[in-house]
């Protein structure tokens, strides 16, 4: 079983990477396998979660959980033109519960606390002993003000021609570009980490011979597919 899974995972990894050079039936095969497996996995997991969280308590006498099954089934009425209005009730419950839970805490965690965390005093304790931190805090304050000014003072208006505001807006563009650049760099780092992990797997002593065989096979398909397709069309 381990050997089979080793062959499958190695093959699917290399088939997927082959897209760098050209889209081939091998890549499409791997893509379809991934989609199918992900869908199957999701369904199995949903059934297991329903069984563990809803069905087991019902069997233990907690009949209130039947409500969640009824509400869940009501969602499927969306496929019927006549009864689709019924699906609005579970949707409303899900949305209202989510909004209520979030609204209570989001103001504190993502609004008030963020404001107090942003407007720091760079010369107060405990920052006096750390010039780096003081500089960071000044930067945070300056960047937040510039970026806010960029969005607040956008659109048409006579103040648009104010020289100081133009400078602030120009600085804000640079600050935002730095932020977007850092975000993009972080994405690249993530992808490299993923690639390193897969390479480690492919070059492990167990999978190295399999990797070599599948790389050769994929290379042959990449090189030979187009001439074969041409020959097929001619025939």
């Amino acid at each position: 079983m381990d050997a089979i899974s080793l062959w499958i995972s190695t093959a699917l990894t290399i088939f997927t990477v082959s897209l760098i050079f050209k889209e081939t039936p091998l890549y499409r095969f791997a893509e379809h396998i991934f989609m199918g497996t992900a869908m199957g996995y999701g369904i199995v997991l949903a059934v297991k979660a329903t069984s563990d969280i809803v069905w087991t308590p019902i069997l233990n006498g907690q009949v209130i959980w039947i409500m969640s099954i009824i509400l869940g089934l009501m969602l499927f009425t969306t496929f019927s033109k006549k009864h689709s209005w019924l699906s609005r009730y579970p949707t409303a419950i899900v949305v209202s519960t989510g909004v209520t839970l979030t609204m209570i805490t989001v103001i504190r965690s993502s609004f008030l606390s963020q404001i107090t965390s942003t407007f720091l005093n760079p010369i107060a304790q405990p920052f006096t002993g750390s010039p780096e931190l003081a500089i960071n805090n000044i930067l945070v304050i300056v960047i937040v003000i510039c970026t806010l000014a960029y969005f607040v003072f956008s659109g048409a208006g006579t103040w648009q021609n104010n020289r100081a505001l133009m400078l602030v807006r120009k600085a804000a563009i640079y600050f935002m570009m730095f932020a977007f650049g850092a975000g993009f760099a972080a994405t690249v780092v993530s992808r490299i980490a993923l690639w390193v992990g897969r390479t480690r797997y492919l070059l492990a002593p167990d999978s190295l011979p399999i990797t070599a065989i599948i790389v050769v096979f994929t290379a042959l398909i990449l090189v030979g597919l187009e001439p074969l397709q041409k020959m097929w069309k001619k025939a």
Binding site: A49, D52, I53, G98, T102, S109, S190, I192, V196, G197
Partner: protein, 274 residues
């Protein structure tokens, strides 16, 4: 075809080829590049190290499978550290990939001899509902779940008899590749003031960093920190092994970024000249 056109034409395949070689060589023959342990890693290490024996820790397996590889070294190192500190670990995930990742992870961490399932660690499986699931879990674990992932009733697991709400956890850690840690902050830190530590992939760092250190007590966001944690733990693993490959890959990318910008500048210059 002049040099810049040649670079432009062959740049992309050359980049992939160089990256593949640059990553493969250090994996086959590690170089051992020097590494300095950062402040965030030291803080996180101290946080786990300060746990009292038998403290209960929530270990949130919340990444998608695509983000797991980047988090893997940190998840293994922190898991091993928790076991070494004799902490009791409640593994659970609010992302559907949690069960599959748990199987890989528990194998990678290697449960120490003498540690018993149900007494020293449990796995509650995937808890659906994301933020609503986290809120329910924080309020009353037993009201939300009656069995663990393997179908064992929670009352038969000694560890779970000591857990009722999130207040019973000494530390709540979320390993994630998306915005779930923000839900933890909103549903675990704000209402209960539980100590939340977050380990995320690099892409999520800008979204989570503003919460540190005011609302979260520990924060790791780069794969390099996995290697740093392994060094602090004196347990070199895949983090240290991958560090060389990642560094070389980043160096290659930097060279290509500089080359690409030089080509653009040269082209702009020649257009102006024309």
């Amino acid at each position: 075809m002049d040099l810049t056109e040649r670079i432009e034409h062959y740049g992309m395949p050359a980049l992939y080829l160089l990256l593949a070689i640059g990553i493969a060589i250090p994996i086959l023959h590690p170089i051992g590049l020097p590494m300095v342990v950062g402040e965030d890693t030291k803080t996180f290490y101290a946080l786990v190290d300060s746990l009292k024996p038998r403290a209960i820790v929530h270990y949130g397996i919340d990444p998608e499978i695509g983000g797991f590889e980047e988090l893997r070294s940190r998840m293994i190192a922190i898991g091993a550290h928790l076991f070494a500190k004799d902490a009791r670990i409640v593994f659970a995930g609010f992302d559907p990939n949690a069960p599959e990742i748990y199987k890989l992870l528990i194998n990678d961490i290697g449960v120490p001899k003498g540690k018993e399932y149900g007494v020293d660690y449990v796995f509650l499986g995937y808890i659906p509902g994301r933020e609503i699931g986290i809120a329910s879990y924080a309020k009353d674990v037993h009201a939300l779940l009656s069995v663990d992932y393997f179908g064992t009733p929670l009352q038969n697991l000694p560890l779970m008899n000591d857990v009722k709400t999130i207040r019973d956890f000494s530390l709540v850690i979320s390993f994630s590749s998306h915005e779930l840690p923000i839900n933890y902050i909103q549903q675990v830190y704000v209402p209960y003031h539980a100590r939340v530590a977050v380990v995320v992939i690099g892409v999520m760092a800008p979204a989570l960093k503003p919460y540190y250190p005011d609302q979260i007590v520990g924060f790791l966001s780069t794969p390099r920190q996995g290697a740093e944690y392994e060094l602090l733990l004196h347990r070199p693993g895949i983090g240290v092994a991958d560090f060389d490959a990642q560094t070389i890959a980043h160096a290659i990318l930097l060279i290509f970024i500089v080359a690409g910008n030089l080509i653009v500048l040269k082209r702009r210059h020649s257009k102006r000249g024309a």
